[in-house]
């Protein structure tokens, strides 16, 4: 059992990194709590797999340390760390049965035969695979194979954390949901730290209690799914999480009023300390922007209305800048003129892409 601490960790695949552009992973400080369910979320190529491989020991970081319960393991090889990893493509040992596959990590660690047998039965029962124990692993379906790779991590009693590298990529959609619930159940039952890498926000938000969003080799926000939704710390998080993503509009802030072009938006907080020269933007999620009859709220023009099943979303323009807003039940519009009501407390101001905390107001 361990908490995992990343201490000034950074990695470059080039041997002589010159500047920040050479780093696949920019400096990161983070503590993965014992027993937490984490998701590492970000687009392809943002460094999340690199970070995962550093934790599991497949990659040695260029700088910084990695600590398991305060013990420095930066230079320890993978097999000496109490870590298991499940890969994107299911890895099973083709020549072995399911039972032999599950026993393999224990056999390599020279445990007594009875212990191995007992442990394998136990984990197979947990994974609901007892019936398949004596089948050849190579003949199973992709989701069963993925369960075996997970099982090989679970059998080891010393494993403190299990790392998942986009484990559901090759699984059929209707089985994805099932396998994800299995993971959640195991997490609750076994008190393991789980770190789950994905570029799919639904997977991340349903699996994890803490989501770490990465962008371009750096961590841009760490928080619960609610925090990521309600207070994105970076415009990237606003765009990346949510469907459609957050409206980000260029603005000018004076006192408690923001100006988008010639439209004035009242704010809940004041922003006296905005850095000069930085690009100032106003961010508000479509979920907190409601369309209304023309003449109420901010004047907008409606371009299109999309019906996405659970709601209707309007594609609008505010002073020439595109945005999205919810269309309430029963609203009928004539022409393309409409009004827009914003939840004032859910409006955020960003300077150079980074959230600026306001002063005064409530929350």
């Amino acid at each position: 059992m361990a908490s995992i601490t990343l201490d000034h960790l950074a990695h470059a695949y080039r041997p002589d990194p010159q500047g920040p552009q050479d780093y696949a992973l920019k400096e990161i400080n983070h503590v993965w709590r014992q027993g937490g369910a984490y998701a590492l979320l970000g687009p392809s190529g943002c460094g999340k797999t690199t970070l995962l491989n550093i934790i599991s020991g497949l990659v040695t970081p260029t700088q910084g340390r990695i600590l398991f319960d305060g013990r420095d393991v930066t230079n320890l090889p993978t097999e000496a760390r109490n870590i298991a990893q499940v890969f994107q493509f299911p890895v099973v040992y083709d020549t072995m049965t399911v039972r032999e596959n599950l026993a393999f990590p224990l056999k390599n660690r020279h445990l007594p035969r009875e212990t191995i047998a007992k442990r394998v039965e136990e984990i197979a029962a947990r994974l609901d695979m007892s019936a398949a124990l004596d089948r050849k692993a190579s003949n199973l379906t992709a989701d069963a194979k993925q369960k075996i790779s997970l099982g090989r991590g679970l059998v080891r009693a010393d494993v403190a954390a299990i790392l998942f590298d986009e484990p559901l990529t090759v699984i059929d959609p209707h089985l994805k949901w099932q396998l994800r619930s299995t993971l959640k159940e195991l997490h609750r039952a076994l008190d393991l730290t789980m770190i789950y890498v994905t570029h799919d926000q639904t997977e991340a938000l349903t699996f994890a209690d803490t989501v770490v969003v990465m962008h371009d080799g750096a961590v841009v926000q760490t928080g619960s799914p609610e925090e990521l939704f309600e207070r994105p710390a970076h415009t990237f998080v606003g765009h990346f999480i949510g469907s459609p993503g957050m409206n980000v509009l260029p603005a000018r802030v004076e006192g408690t009023t923001a100006h988008i072009g010639d439209v004035a938006v009242p704010l809940a907080r004041a922003y006296p300390a905005l850095p000069a020269g930085a690009k100032i933007e106003l961010g508000v999620r479509p979920e907190f922007a409601t369309l209304a009859r023309a003449g109420t709220g901010l004047p907008v023009s409606v371009k299109r209305i999309d019906d996405i099943g659970r709601a209707r979303i309007a594609r609008i323009e505010i002073a020439g800048h595109p945005a999205a807003a919810m269309v309430p039940e029963g609203l009928s519009l004539d022409g393309d003129r409409a009004g827009l009501n914003l939840e004032t407390r859910q409006i955020h101001i960003y300077a150079g892409g980074v959230l600026v905390p306001g002063e005064g107001g409530v929350g």
């Binding site: 993978t78 020549t95 379906t141 790779s149």
Partner: protein, 300 residues
Amino acid sequence: MDKPVNNRAWWLVAPVFAIVAFSAIIPIMTVVNYSVQDTFGNNQFFWNGLGWFQELLDPSTELGGRFFAALWRNLLFSAIILAIEVPLGILVALSMPREGWRVAATLVTMALPLLIPWNVVGTIWQVFARADIGLLGYGLNALGINYNYTGDVFSAWVTIVVMDVWHWTSLVALLCYAGLKSIPDAYYQAARIDGASRWAVFTTIQLPKMKRVLLIAVLLRFMDSFMIYTEPFVLTGGGPGNATTFLSIDLVKLALGQFDLGKAAAMSLVYNLIVLALCWVFYTVMTHAGSERPDQGSAA
């Protein structure tokens, strides 16, 4: 799914059938024709029925004796070179670089022996191994080892085996290398996490993943070595005595040297059947080894 049935499609096979008839079926039927007759030259033939076959398959006769002696030599030779080239090829493939400029350099170097024609290989080794002027032969004798491939049976065999290993191990190595390259990195990473030893990685990941290319390598090397002709013919001419007279060499001696067309035809037919039968056995054994019927609808 409904498949349309149209027998006129057979006409599309006709050109291939015609070509195969001229290249294979008609020549083989000539051989079959010779194998049931005897000739004393002058284009006169006499019916002999299955006589040649009976003589050939009876080791107590002169013909049967030399046939079985050559057959055992062939089998022994194939067994030896497979036992050396397959493990050696795997070992070479495992130690080949996996990335960087060395890959290209290694691949080109490995492919060089494969590009040399058989008779040139024979000539190279004939000169290289000569006890009087060859570097290898002279060197060995200078070291006090009695080595002379034209007079000593053991020397002759060692030379032919080493020559074949030199010529063909690259093929096995290149095939194995291709098999190794197709293994995703995740397998090696998973094995490290599972604490597998180097040997366990080899037996549980690399060898099973190489199974298919190894099958091809063994088949190719077996067929080739079982039909070997040019290299030993150039190197030893089948000698000393008949010590390196393989079936193909014996066949040429019989057909072109003694002009015993009937005997030679019977021998080549039996030879052909043995090659076919052994290939079928190899293929069946290796494709069915340890495979279980896959699940219905499971993605492989």
